[in-house]
C-alpha cells in the first residue's frame, strides 16, 4: 500500500446533517467538500491569528465549530468596521451589535458558531463532549486559560485519543516570557521586523498593519495540516506550540545572519535603508511620486538590460549613455541623482500609467495599490477570483478575502458567511452531542449557552 492511501481507521467521526430548523434554510449546515471534509475542529480561537488559521481549514472542508463566550465578545465582533459608518477601530460602539462586524465576517466565514458559558460546570461539560466528538482542538488564549478549564493536552488525550491540540501564542508555552501579552504590532516590534524597516537616521516606520497576525495564522494553518498529515500516516496525535515571535524572527532574512555570522550590528547609522536595497545593488530601486493625491509607483532595476529597457521606456535613451550611470555599481552609487531624474518623470503620470508602460517594456514596476485599486480595478485579481461575495443576514451582501492559491484538483467550499452569535447552538448540540431540542432550550434559558 502506498504511504499516502487513507488509513482505514482514520479517526474522524461521522458527521450527521439532519434538518435542524434555521430561519433561513440556506444557512443550514450541509456536508462539506474538499481535502479536509470529515475533519471536525473544536475551535476555541478568537481575535485575529487563531481565526485566520482555522479559516483555511473551514474553507477547504473541515467542520470548524467556533466556540464563543457571550459575556466576552470576540474583538472582531466589536471592532467598528461597518457598512456606511466609517470609524477608526479605536472608536468602538460601547454596545455593538455582535453580528454587524465586518472583520468577524471576513475571518469566520464557513465556520459553525456556538456559545458556551465556561464559568458554568455544564458549559465545561459540553466543551468536553465537543472535544470528545472532534479530532482537532485549537486555541490562542492567554496562557493558563485552557488549563483553568482543565483542558490540558493530557486531559484532551483522555477525551479524544489521537487528538491534535494546536496552541497559538505570542511567546510560546515555555520560557520566562511565556506570559507576556502580545498582539500583531508587539510581535513585530519584539521579533525585530519593525526595527529593520525604515529610513536611516530616524525612528523605524515598521508596519502599518498586523502583518504577524496574518503570518502567524498562515504558519499555524500549516502546523495543523502537518499534524493532520502525520496522524493520517501514523495514527499519532500531537500538541503544537507555535510562538508568533519565533515565526517573526525566522522571517528576518539575511540581516539576522549578517549580525550572527559577521557580528555586524544593525544599530548603525546607515541601517535600515528605506526603499533602497543593501543587496543586491539594484538602482533605481524605490517608490516614486505620481500625479494625484499621495499616489506612488514602485520601480526596481537589477541589471544593465533592465536599465536599458527602462531608459527607452521613459523616453530618455540618453541616460543609458551617461558616464555616471554606466554600470550597475555606478548607478547604485548615484542613486540620489537617479531618483531625482526618475521622480521628475513619474510625477507627471499616474501610477498605473507608469506601471503599464514599464511592464510592457519588461521593467519591474507597480502602482502602490490601495484597497480600492485591488478591489475595483486590478484585472489580475478579478481574473483569478481572489475576492468573492456571500450574503449575511445582518450585513447583507459582503465581500471576502479568498484563498490566494488556485488548485487544479479542488476549489474552496464557500458555503456560508460567518455565524451569527450562537447561530448553530441547536444544530451542533443536537446533532453532534445528541441533546434534545428541549434540553438545548433549557441550557439557553439558564445561560449555559
Amino acid at each position: 500500500m502506498p504511504a499516502d492511501t487513507p488509513l482505514p481507521d482514520t479517526p474522524y467521526p461521522d458527521t450527521p446533517y439532519p434538518d435542524t430548523p434555521y430561519p433561513d434554510p440556506a444557512r443550514r449546515p450541509r456536508p462539506r467538500t474538499g481535502p479536509l471534509a470529515g475533519i471536525r475542529v473544536a475551535d476555541f480561537c478568537w481575535m485575529g491569528v487563531g481565526a485566520v488559521a482555522t479559516r483555511l481549514l473551514a474553507d477547504f472542508g473541515a467542520d470548524v465549530i467556533k466556540i464563543e463566550n457571550r459575556a466576552r465578545l470576540d474583538m472582531p465582533r466589536r471592532l467598528p468596521i461597518y457598512k456606511g459608518d466609517p470609524r477608526s477601530y479605536g472608536d468602538e460602539d460601547p454596545n455593538p451589535d455582535p453580528n454587524k462586524g465586518g472583520l468577524f465576517n471576513n475571518y469566520n466565514r464557513n465556520k459553525l458558531g456556538i456559545t458556551l458559558n465556561m464559568r458554568d460546570p455544564r458549559g465545561r461539560e459540553l466543551a468536553d463532549a465537543l472535544i470528545a466528538a472532534s479530532s482537532v482542538v485549537s486555541e490562542n488564549f492567554a496562557l493558563g486559560v485552557m488549563e483553568r478549564w482543565g483542558l490540558t493536552y493530557e486531559r484532551l488525550q483522555e477525551l479524544c485519543p489521537g487528538v491534535i491540540y494546536a496552541r497559538m501564542s505570542g511567546f510560546g508555552h515555555s520560557g520566562p516570557y511565556a506570559r507576556y501579552r502580545s498582539y500583531g504590532p508587539v510581535v513585530q516590534a519584539v521579533s525585530g521586523l519593525s526595527f529593520i524597516s525604515g529610513l536611516p537616521g530616524r525612528e523605524p516606520s515598521g508596519w502599518g498593519l498586523s502583518y504577524m497576525d496574518n503570518q502567524a495564522a498562515y504558519y499555524n494553518s500549516a502546523a495543523l495540516l502537518m499534524a493532520i498529515l502525520h496522524r493520517e500516516q501514523t495514527g499519532e496525535g500531537t500538541e503544537i506550540d507555535m510562538a508568533a515571535v519565533e515565526i517573526g524572527i525566522s522571517m528576518l532574512g539575511p540581516d539576522l545572519l549578517d549580525a550572527s555570522a559577521n557580528s555586524r550590528p544593525t544599530r548603525r547609522p546607515d541601517f535600515p535603508t528605506g526603499n533602497r536595497l543593501q543587496y543586491p545593488h539594484a538602482a533605481p530601486h524605490g517608490v516614486y511620486p505620481c500625479a494625484g493625491d499621495d499616489r506612488w509607483v514602485a520601480i526596481a532595476v537589477f541589471d544593465d538590460d533592465e536599465w536599458d529597457r527602462m531608459c527607452k521606456a521613459v523616453g530618455q535613451p540618453e541616460w543609458a549613455d551617461e558616464e555616471r550611470f554606466a554600470s550597475q555599481a555606478a548607478r547604485f552609487a548615484a542613486q540620489d541623482e537617479l531618483d531625482a531624474l526618475l521622480g521628475a518623470w513619474t510625477r507627471e503620470r499616474t501610477p498605473h500609467e507608469v506601471m503599464r508602460l514599464l511592464q510592457a517594456a519588461g521593467v519591474r514596476a507597480s502602482a502602490v495599490q490601495n484597497a480600492e485599486d485591488l478591489n475595483e480595478h486590478d484585472p489580475q485579481l478579478a481574473e483569478r477570483g481572489v475576492f468573492f461575495e456571500m450574503d449575511h443576514p445582518v450585513i447583507g451582501t459582503a465581500r471576502f478575502e479568498g484563498q490566494a492559491v488556485l488548485f487544479s484538483g479542488f476549489t474552496p467550499d464557500l458555503w456560508r458567511s460567518a455565524p451569527l452569535l450562537g447561530e448553530d447552538n441547536e444544530h451542533v448540540l443536537t446533532t453532534v452531542l445528541g441533546l434534545s431540542r428541549d434540553e438545548v432550550a433549557d441550557l439557553a434559558a439558564e445561560g449555559v449557552i
Binding site: 499516502d4 470609524r87 521586523l193 498593519l209 550572527s260 543593501q278 502602490v368 483569478r384 471576502f400
Partner: protein, 399 residues
C-alpha cells in the same frame, strides 16, 4: 518518493518526501527551505553559474563568492544542490521529477513556454506528482508575465500603501526582510499540504498555482475590510496601524535611545488603571490619578496630555526596563528589538530557539530554527546550505 516505511510515530511527516526545486526566486527558495528544515529531501536544481541568490550579499566574513552569500545561506538550509543546464538538461530534470513527490518551480508562463515545459503534460505523465508553482502573479491572468520583486510585489498587493511615516511627503516605505516573498512562501506551504492531503484521498497529484500578488492582496489585514464595509481608504502612520484618520503615536523613545511600542487603548479600563498605577508608583502620574479620568470621554479629551506623560516617563527609563516592567504589570508593551539583540534574549535561549549550523571553514553560525514545534516528533537538525553542485554526482547518473 514517499514510501510506507517513511511514516512512523515520532518522525516528521516530511520524512521521505522528495521535492525537486527549480527556477525559484526567494519565495520558492523559502518554500523549499521550510520543507527541507522540516525533514523533506529538497533537491535544488541550479544552473551552472548557481542560483542568482548566490550572487547576493551580505557575505560571510565579507568575502564575496558563490559559497559565501548569506542571502543564499538564509533561504537554502538543509537542501541538496544539483547543477543542470536547462533546457539541454530537461530530460534529466524529468528523471529527477519521476522519482519525486513535488516539483517546486518558480518559472512564469513565458519562461515555461520557452523551456518547453508543460505542467499539464507533466502531471499526465506522473499522476502522483504535485506541481507547486510559486510565481509573482500566478500562471493565469493578464499580468501573469509581469515582472516583479519584493518591493514591486508589496506595492502591487497593497501592504506597502499602509507602511511608512506620518509625513506623507515621504513615500510609503518597504518593510524589511523580503516579506513579499515570505508571504508567498507561507501560502505555498499551505497549498502543498492541502494537495498532499488530497493525494492521500485520491491517489492523484495536481497543479498548485501560488501567486505572490494574490497572497499579498489578502494579507493587508484591515485595508480590505475597511473597503468592503465603510468603503474608506487607510492612511499610513509611523510604525502603527494605518487607519481612516490620524491616531496618537505608539512608538516611544527611551533613555537609552531605544524604542518601545505601546498603543494605549483608551476604551479599555484595565490597562488604563495599570498604567496610572505604574506612573503613580514612580511619582509621575501627576493629575492622571484624578477620578475624572475614570470616564472615557475625559481620557479621550486629554489623550495628548496622557501621551506626553508616557513620553516623559519613557525618556527616564531604558527600553528594556519599560518592556519587562510594563509586561509584568500586564501591559502589552513590546521592545523594538534589533536583530542582534535577539541572539542574547533569555526567553529564546530558554526555548532553544537559535541553533548552531556548521558552515565549514567559517565555523558554527547561529541560525533561527524553524518555528514549528510538535510534541509528537522533533524537527530534524538544520543542515548547512549546499555547495554549488554538491549532490550532482549522487543524484544524476552520467548520461
Amino acid at each position: 518518493m514517499w514510501r510506507e516505511a517513511d511514516a512512523a510515530p515520532g518522525r516528521t511527516p516530511y520524512n521521505g518526501l522528495v521535492v525537486v526545486e527549480v527556477g525559484t526566486d526567494l519565495d520558492g527558495e523559502q518554500t523549499g527551505k521550510l520543507l527541507a528544515d522540516l525533514g523533506a529531501t529538497v533537491i535544488k536544481v541550479e544552473p551552472p553559474g548557481g542560483s542568482p541568490t548566490r550572487a547576493c550579499g551580505p557575505w560571510l566574513g565579507d568575502v564575496e563568492g558563490s559559497e559565501t552569500s548569506l542571502a543564499f545561506a538564509t533561504y537554502n538550509t538543509s537542501k541538496q544542490s544539483v547543477v543542470l543546464d536547462l533546457p539541454a538538461g530537461l530530460p534529466r530534470l524529468e528523471e529527477l521529477v519521476a522519482d519525486a513527490d513535488v516539483l517546486l518551480c518558480g518559472l512564469q508562463p513565458a519562461a515555461l513556454a520557452r523551456l518547453g515545459l508543460s505542467y499539464g503534460e507533466l502531471v499526465a505523465r506522473h499522476p502522483r506528482l504535485v506541481v507547486l508553482s510559486v510565481t509573482p502573479f500566478g500562471l493565469t491572468g493578464p499580468w501573469a508575465d509581469y515582472l516583479s520583486s519584493d518591493l514591486v510585489a508589496l506595492a502591487a498587493g497593497g501592504p506597502l500603501a499602509s507602511c511608512g511615516y506620518d509625513d506623507h511627503t515621504i513615500p510609503p516605505i518597504r518593510p524589511g526582510g523580503n516579506q513579499g516573498f515570505q508571504t508567498s512562501a507561507s501560502h505555498a506551504h499551505n497549498g502543498l499540504l492541502l494537495a498532499l492531503l488530497q493525494r492521500r484521498r485520491t491517489g492523484r497529484g495536481q497543479i498548485v498555482d501560488v501567486s505572490m500578488h494574490d497572497a499579498l492582496a489578502v494579507t493587508g489585514e484591515l485595508a480590505n475590510p475597511y473597503w468592503f464595509y465603510p468603503r474608506v481608504l487607510l492612511e499610513r502612520q509611523t510604525c502603527r496601524h494605518a487607519q481612516p484618520e490620524p491616531t496618537q503615536p505608539a512608538l516611544f523613545q527611551c533613555a537609552d535611545g531605544n524604542y518601545i511600542y505601546f498603543a494605549l487603548v483608551l476604551a479599555d479600563q484595565k490597562p488604563w488603571q495599570q498604567l496610572v498605577a505604574w506612573l503613580d508608583s514612580a511619582g509621575v502620574a501627576l493629575d492622571l490619578t484624578d477620578p475624572a479620568y475614570g470616564s472615557l470621554p475625559h481620557r479621550q479629551e486629554n489623550f495628548a496630555h496622557i501621551q506626553d506623560l508616557i513620553e516623559v516617563f519613557c525618556l527616564l527609563h531604558d527600553a528594556d526596563w519599560m518592556y519587562h516592567e510594563g509586561q509584568a504589570r500586564g501591559l502589552p508593551i513590546g521592545i523594538v528589538s534589533a536583530p542582534e539583540d535577539l541572539l542574547a534574549d533569555a526567553h529564546l535561549r530558554a526555548r532553544g530557539y537559535f541553533v548552531g549550523v556548521d558552515l565549514g571553514e567559517a565555523g558554527t553560525v547561529e541560525y533561527p530554527s524553524t518555528p514549528f514545534r510538535f510534541g509528537a516528533f522533533p524537527v530534524p537538525p538544520m543542515r548547512r546550505p549546499p555547495r554549488l553542485g554538491e549532490h550532482t554526482a549522487a543524484r544524476l547518473q552520467e548520461p
